[in-house]
């Protein structure tokens, strides 16, 4: 069975949650991050806690868009914001801009005082990155997103955590960045290429990244989904194929 690029991405995002144990796997929404958390829970990370997309913690693991049959907990926004500060949570965020230090921007493009494009606002990105392990899912890897300097630091990168990382920001932890082209992490606080998805070259990644990456001598391919994972993605969690709309190869 050949896996699609979207399916490779789902598994690469699911891998971000490996080893997390009994914590909330939180996603920004959309198909891929939600599928990733649910896939991880159904396979190698069975103790993960996942939501219905709103405030219900599900006892089962429903398909995308389906109601849970079993509810094991309640996490209204006030408790979710508490959990962010508490930290028993790993979040997969989005970013309109990201730099080599892992600073991210979802607030606005241009000068904050009068932006050329107002986006969402910082939302919970400052607190999420200050208090929880955070990863990123970026469905369109391009030089528009991977920029030398973000216009407004919403999510805190390694350089901005700086000396605070030993004290106030000791919980700051950027795990991995998954894109439609590759998997990245950080080495010494700078972004590093971990693997390229099947069909993508290191040059493709570099050409779509607006800053120099740390590139090891040997860059492996991102692992393919197993037969079991493909079955769960295709037949159980996302029979409607919503993942394919989110990811372009």
């Amino acid at each position: 069975m050949n896996a699609s690029r979207a399916e490779v991405c789902v598994v690469a995002c699911a891998e971000a949650f490996r080893g997390d144990g009994e914590i909330l796997a939180a996603g920004v929404g959309g198909a891929v991050t939600v599928l990733a958390a649910r896939l991880a829970r159904l396979t190698f990370e069975p103790d993960l806690i996942t939501t219905d997309g709103t405030c219900l913690l599900t006892g089962d693991v429903p398909p995308l868009g389906a109601e849970p049959e079993v509810i094991e907990g309640w996490l209204p926004f006030r408790d979710h914001l508490w959990l962010v500060l508490h930290g028993r949570r790993h979040v997969m965020l989005g970013a309109s801009q990201i730099d080599r230090h892992g600073n991210t921007n979802i607030s606005c493009i241009g000068d904050w005082a009068r932006p050329t494009s107002q986006l969402l606002g910082v939302r919970g990105a400052p607190g999420n990155t200050a208090c929880d392990p955070a990863s990123y899912w970026i469905p369109r890897h391009s030089t528009r997103v991977f920029v030398p300097k973000v216009d407004m630091v919403s999510g805190v990168g390694h350089d901005r955590a700086g000396s605070l990382r030993h004290r106030e920001l000791r919980h700051h932890e950027l795990r991995r960045v998954v894109t439609n082209l590759c998997v990245l992490d950080f080495d010494g606080g700078l972004m590093r290429l971990v693997s390229v998805h099947p069909g993508v070259s290191v040059a493709d990644v570099a050409g779509n990244t607006g800053f120099p990456l740390i590139v090891p001598d040997e860059v492996p391919e991102t692992r393919l989904p197993t037969t079991e994972e493909l079955h769960i993605i295709r037949d159980v969690l996302d029979p409607g194929g919503l993942r394919e709309r989110e990811v372009r190869a």
Binding site: P76, G121, V122, A130, E168
Partner: protein, 272 residues
Amino acid sequence: MTSPISKVMSVEEVVGSLESGMTVGIGGWGSRRKPMALVKGILRSELTDLTIVSYGGADVGLLCAYGKARKVVAPFVTLDSIPLEPHFRAARQAGAIEFVEYDEGMFMFGLLAAAHRLPFLPTRAGLGSDVMRVNPSLRTVRSPYEDGEELVAVPALTMDVALIHLNRADRRGNAQYLGPDPYFDDLYAKAADRCYVSCERLVDTADLLKEGPVQSLLVSRSMVTGVVEAPGGARFTSCEPDYGRDEEFQRAYVAAAAAPESWREFTKWVHE
């Protein structure tokens, strides 16, 4: 037995009690359980120069579009199923409003501080981010204990008035949510000098527990100045379980905002 005091008011009476220049907190979250009937009342009024405190949605967008908002305090403005709010974007890009941009958790601590009559609450959220840069009046505070940590001192989000919409209320202002999430409406009520509640349906006090458990009684009458019965009063935002978000209407709202002609036509809705 004394007869219960009635705090029942009309939308016009609530709006008539407000003054230009006030700080107005608006409950709900994004495009969920927004007190739209009360917001539309403000849009129809002469009020201006307002400071709006909100986990923002179309409430913020509309108040910007109608020139009612001078300043917005928010961690985001979004329509949820449609990420970006067109009028808020336009106002920001035109430099038409002042914006105080906080992290979501900072914002909650601001509400909590105000609700507890504290000047601030400390948090890690915001440290290292540009929230500190774009809010130069934000201060940090050093822990007096051994850790000595220097944290963000989120100032209390005090407000003159809070506007919230719940599912049920009685005539004295006890208000009940029946949906899955209370959002922060009780905190708005406690953070404000005056709170006005609109509700889907007024019920007798004795009937409040017929539809939900005692834990669903979110807001006490001691926090409430006035109650408005406004069926559909959160539309087009959601008010579970009475109704969900009107996605079709919301899409039309965004489409209409793209051009002045279509928007003029659309604004008839504000006067309904």
